[in-house]
């Protein structure tokens, strides 16, 4: 995938992190009317994390890119996430870039500033690439873009409706959220003891579908505003940006919600699909006011 500058879209993503760490958006080929959001808010490029970032990791955990050819010329999208520093603090940054012709026309970012699961630090896995996600899959195991979207929607429907049968996931499918594995993790590796013993763990030893069968995710009311932003059929990757709505502990509710008060979690979730089944899930997310919109 070649951009007008001669580089790759994935290279453009790396350039974003480098420019960010230097606080210099002018290093990027930005379109005049570029749209920029940080955590769902439209900001001027140069503000928000652009003004506070002091460093960026050398590599991204995951990235996925896609090109399309249309009447307006070549358009491309690339998205991924990796670690940055802001002042003395680390933060996890997801970036989606859209290129139109030669220029970056859209920048959507998700900054996770709160350390996950009650940890004191971000998990080490967020500082290095996740090699399984980047593997090219056998042609016989590849699906179409529509197949990938369908698999991702099946997962999101299954999670929000507590119906494991809707989820086309392999039994050994790992899921990594904000750097920690939240399924098939019997020892609770990486999680503080307090989290493992709390009800919010949802049964860390279980697989994706088995967790759903325990109704561990009843507290998720809806998964809305789904945008399937980038797909790569050769790697079986599709990235969805969506909101998980959590209404909180409802008055008279017949179960305890691990999320006490209403919020909406902005989630970027990447699925690796091969042979019709989801083989690996990696996601990042942070909680925002209930009902918040994505800004797009």
């Amino acid at each position: 995938m070649i951009t007008a500058r001669g580089g790759t879209l994935d290279g453009l993503l790396d350039e974003y992190y480098t420019a960010l760490a230097a606080g210099d958006p002018a290093r990027l080929p930005l379109a005049a009317g570029v749209t920029f959001t940080e955590n769902g808010q439209r900001l001027a490029v140069g503000t928000g994390l652009w003004a506070t970032a002091t460093g960026a990791a050398d590599s991204r955990v995951v990235s996925v890119s896609e090109e399309a050819y249309g009447p307006g010329g070549t358009a491309g999208q690339v998205a991924g996430w990796g670690m940055v520093t802001e002042g003395d603090e680390d933060a996890l940054l997801g970036v989606r870039l859209k290129t139109t012709g030669k220029a970056v026309s859209e920048i959507e970012t998700l900054v996770v500033r709160r350390k996950p699961f009650g940890r004191d630090t971000f998990p080490p896995s967020l500082y290095e690439p996740s090699p399984r996600m980047l593997e090219v899959i056998e042609p016989a195991d590849r699906g179409t873009r529509e197949d990938l979207v369908k698999a991702a929607n099946g997962y999101l429907d299954g999670v929000s409706r507590d119906d494991a049968d809707l989820i086309p996931a392999a039994d050994d499918c790992p899921r990594v959220e904000n750097g920690l594995q939240t399924v098939l993790n019997p020892d609770g590796a990486g999680f503080p003891e307090e989290f493992v013993s709390s009800s919010s763990s949802g049964g860390l030893a279980l697989g994706v579908r088995a967790q759903i069968r325990t109704l561990a995710f009843r507290y998720i009311e809806d998964i809305r505003d789904r945008r399937f932003v980038v797909a790569d059929t050769s790697r079986g990757l599709v990235l969805v940006r969506c909101f998980f709505d959590h209404p909180g502990q409802l008055r008279g509710g017949d179960f305890d919600s691990p999320i006490a008060t209403p919020n909406s979690m902005l989630i970027w979730e990447m699925f690796k699909v091969a042979g019709g089944l989801i083989r690996r899930i990696e996601a990042i997310g942070a909680a925002f006011p209930y009902g918040m919109r994505a800004g797009w």
């Binding site: 808010q41 928000g48 003004a51 506070t52 603090e89 929607n153 008060t261 209403p262 009902g291 919109r293």
Partner: protein
């Protein structure tokens, strides 16, 4: 048009009905718009679905009889926790409620990055603030325009670091989420390290650069006024860019954030005499009434 007494009773009913989820008993007009923390929700969602208690009296209220609007705040209980609820009701010509704007300040909430360090005095916010609703003597009573100017002067002064813009009395107290943040005799905010700036008055703090991390007080609205009591209530956002690279000032915040606030000023004889505010901590650049639509896409390539 409803009377001031009717407006007050609407606010009482709102807080009274909340713990039982009785929103349907509110005198609402068809198509009433309901927002919580700037997001349009269905009436019955959000805090209406989770609240289990509400204080019978409230800390601050401004009823604007000319506009048929009232805004007030008090303590509520949600999932066993304290939260502050601000309610702003607009009524139409027929006296029915056409718009309900709410502001819920939740402490230790996943989405508010207060993270346990937020200041809150629930006991103080559960009862009326002494003197706030007292009538102002006619000779010292400000007009509605003067009230607006006083509020804007404060917000301009705080956000630009220019104390001369703020028409404030030297003995003016300010309470934020129920906690006194100026003229403290103990020299420290509750549970915090001693800090001499807490002993200063409003203008002094601005002169000393305490508010320098505030880039703007934007999207100001509401401006409910009650000249007989010398009150004006404003809703706005404080923008905090955080520790901006290369900036020599001190910011209490590493990353950027925007703090929505509802703030009441009591003005008498041309000076602000008392300030009450409720404040939360949201994503940088946050706005009320986001106008983007909700939509799932079809998965078609963009």
């Amino acid at each position: 048009m409803v009377s001031r007494a009717d407006l007050a009773s609407y606010a009482d009913r709102y807080f009274g009905l909340l713990p039982s989820g009785g929103h349907a008993q509110l005198p609402t007009a068809p198509g009433v718009v309901f927002t919580e923390n700037g997001q349009v929700l269905r009436l019955g969602q959000g805090l209406w679905a989770t609240a289990t208690g509400a204080a019978g009296t409230r800390a601050a209220t401004v009823a604007d009889g000319d506009r048929g609007e009232i805004a007030t705040w008090g303590m509520v209980t949600e999932a066993g926790r304290d939260a502050i609820l601000g309610v702003h009701l607009k009524t139409g010509d027929d006296g029915l409620i056409t718009e309900i704007e709410t502001f819920v300040v939740r402490m230790n909430d996943m989405s508010s990055t207060f993270g346990g360090s937020g200041l809150l005095d629930p006991a103080r916010l559960a009862r009326p603030t002494p003197g706030l609703l007292d009538l102002v003597h006619e000779a010292e009573r400000p007009g509605a325009d003067e009230l607006r100017r006083a509020a804007d002067g404060y917000l301009d002064g705080v956000s630009s670091g220019d104390a001369d813009l703020i028409p404030v009395a030297g003995d003016c107290l300010r309470f934020e989420n129920g906690v006194q943040t100026v003229l403290r005799t103990d020299g420290a905010l509750p549970g915090r390290e001693p800090n001499p700036v807490t002993m200063m008055d409003v203008a002094q703090q601005v002169r000393e650069g305490v508010t320098r991390h505030i880039a703007a007080a934007r999207d100001r609205g509401m401006y409910l006024t009650d000249p007989s009591r010398g009150l004006v209530m404003v809703r706005f956002f404080f923008d905090h860019p955080g520790r901006v690279r290369g900036w020599q000032g001190r910011s209490p915040f590493t990353g950027p954030n925007s703090m929505p606030a509802w703030e009441v000023f009591k003005v008498r004889g041309g000076l602000i005499r008392h300030i009450e505010a409720i404040i939360a901590w949201f994503p940088y650049g946050y706005r009320w009434h986001a106008d983007e639509t909700h939509a799932d896409d079809t998965g078609e390539r963009w």
